[in-house]
């Protein structure tokens, strides 16, 4: 039949085709893992927001009472140690306050739509900075990827679509300058993606080992028993706050009556 016009590939070309195939598989896998990581982060952030709003604020309040008590004690005793303890307690109270009322406390529940997930996967697959071939390319990809992350967290489908369009129309995505150069570039991309996949696994592991993740697992466990972990923690803290407040009140009453 058309045997004569079959285009025979040179060994370099064959190798390049194989590597391109490998790269494409890796791109898909990486996009999946990036999506998984992004969702894990979003879930943890949402839980963290709830934790800070329901429990964290109470730690801040508890620390505030402890700092007030330390201050009264320092004034009464007047020793260097007591004053240092009061300063330390106040610093702790302020740290807890800003942590409990900061940016992280505003995170809300995140449920990405299938469309949003698909778009994010597409962006990660094509735009990923680890596909960059030079410094300028990488900078551009990093900018786009950061925007994509933001858009994903905000559930902004249009923004994700725009990022994809912007990337596809950019000159950086045009390829080719000879088989040998292509091969070098593809091999380098493969290495970068493999490295990133390993790194994602490490990040997933370390996120899972974080205290907020442990709290989340615990909360889910007890919620299966019909209990509310955060409410229980809040109740316990309210008691401790009451206790500290009473201690403060009795200490300041003693101060007033010599």
């Amino acid at each position: 039949m058309n045997a004569e016009i079959v285009c025979r590939l040179s060994p370099e070309e064959e190798e390049l085709a194989k590597k391109r195939n490998e790269l494409a598989l890796l791109q898909t896998e990486l996009a999946e893992r990036e999506l998984y990581l992004a969702n894990l982060r979003a879930d943890l952030s949402a839980f963290e927001g709830r934790y800070l709003r329901e429990v964290g604020v109470l730690y801040a309040e508890l620390d505030d009472w402890s700092a007030r008590i330390a201050k009264v004690v320092a004034e009464e005793e007047g020793t260097v140690e007591a004053r240092a303890a009061a300063t330390k307690a106040r610093a702790q109270a302020e740290e807890s306050y800003s942590a409990a009322h900061g940016e992280a406390a505003r995170a809300i529940e995140f449920t990405p739509s299938p469309e949003l997930k698909k778009l994010y996967r597409d962006v990660a697959k094509r735009v990923h900075p680890d596909l960059a071939t030079d410094g300028a390319d990488r900078a551009e990809r990093e900018r786009l990827m950061a925007e994509a992350n933001r858009a994903y967290q905000q559930g902004d489908v249009d923004a994700l679509r725009r990022i994809l369009e912007e990337y596809e129309s950019s000159p950086e995505s045009v390829q080719g300058t000879g088989v040998a150069a292509d091969l070098v570039r593809v091999i380098r991309q493969i290495k970068q993606l493999q490295k990133r996949i390993v790194q994602i696994e490490l990040e997933i592991t370390s996120l899972g080992a974080s205290d907020i993740a442990k709290l989340k697992v615990k909360a889910e466990d007890v919620s299966n028993q019909g209990r509310n972990l955060l409410a229980e923690m809040a109740q316990d803290l309210k008691r401790r706050i009451d206790h500290e407040r009473r201690r403060f009140e009795s200490l300041s009453a003693k101060e007033r009556t010599p």
Binding site: Y59, R239, H243
Partner: protein, 280 residues
């Protein structure tokens, strides 16, 4: 180059708040530590309760102590160790100072049974200056939470005007509340109030119904009074066998009046003929 690579891969995606906020991390860590400590305390508490049921009081107290090291705010553990000191169970001797120390902690956190015991300590001056006003306040706190025994004790304070102006209406209200929650002493008192028309219109049927509740819970005085009601046919149809059966229950608990009446009944031929038992 490799250095640059590492830096670059670290940039994407954007960092999460879950790991980057130092303060937040420490708040989550505290939450986790507190949870672990409380679970640990809970385990010691349970183990201590098991020892208590096995009457191994020394071991039980040791468990309560360990539990409190993990969670010094654990109100039930505070109550348990406080009651151990109050009763002298598992300790070289009763120690009212330590009892008051621990029970106050639990009571201030709102633990009703601790509040009730603390009230008793103030009323009867166990290891503390007698203070009826304090006793009344702790009874009230516990009773308002629905602690039946405290309701009864609070009723007694009102009835006798201890730590408060005498007020039979208030006494009645608290006795009734405690009685409805199943406190046998309060049920007995209500029975007496109805039976003798004290603070309420006299009503034998009502008296019998409260005596019966208390008697069924094993209150010897109520068993005796119920026996009397059956014996004399007040508020119930006269029934010698019933009277004997309730006298006997009270007498078995050492109620002298019941033993006496039981003997009288047998002499008159009421009830089964087992004199030998009665004579004892």
């Amino acid at each position: 180059m490799s250095n640059e690579d590492e830096k670059a891969t670290g940039l994407v995606p954007s960092p999460s708040s879950a790991l980057s906020h130092v303060g937040t991390t420490s708040l989550a860590q505290r939450g986790m530590q507190d949870l672990i400590a409380r679970a640990e305390a809970e385990q010691w508490c349970e183990q201590g309760r098991i020892f208590q049921r096995q009457e191994k009081y020394v071991e039980a107290v040791e468990c309560f102590r360990r539990g409190l090291q993990f969670d010094p705010n654990h109100e039930y553990l505070q109550f348990l160790i406080g009651s151990a000191y109050y009763q002298g169970n598992g300790l070289p001797e009763r120690d009212y100072t330590q009892a008051r120390f621990w029970l106050s902690k639990a009571a201030e956190q709102g633990h009703a049974a601790s509040q009730a015991i603390l009230g008793i300590m103030y009323e009867w001056s166990f290891g503390v200056q007698q203070d009826y006003a304090q006793a009344l306040e702790w009874y009230r706190k516990a009773a308002e939470q629905g602690h039946p025994g405290a309701g009864y004790l609070l009723g007694c304070c009102y009835w006798e005007g201890r730590g408060v102006l005498q007020n039979h209406e208030q006494a009645l209200a608290w006795f009734r509340k405690a009685a409805e929650l199943g406190d046998a002493s309060a049920q007995f008192n209500l029975g007496v109030m109805y039976g003798f028309g004290r603070g309420v219109p006299q009503d034998d049927a009502e008296a019998v119904s409260w005596y019966r509740k208390a008697a069924e819970l094993g209150n010897a005085s109520a068993q005796f009074n119920l026996g009397v009601m059956y014996h004399s046919g007040q508020g119930v149809p006269q029934d010698g066998a019933e009277a004997v059966s309730w006298y006997r229950k009270a007498a078995e608990q050492g109620h002298a009046g019941a033993a006496n009446n039981l003997a009288v009944c047998y002499e008159k031929g009421l009830g089964p003929q087992d004199h030998a038992q009665v004579a004892e």
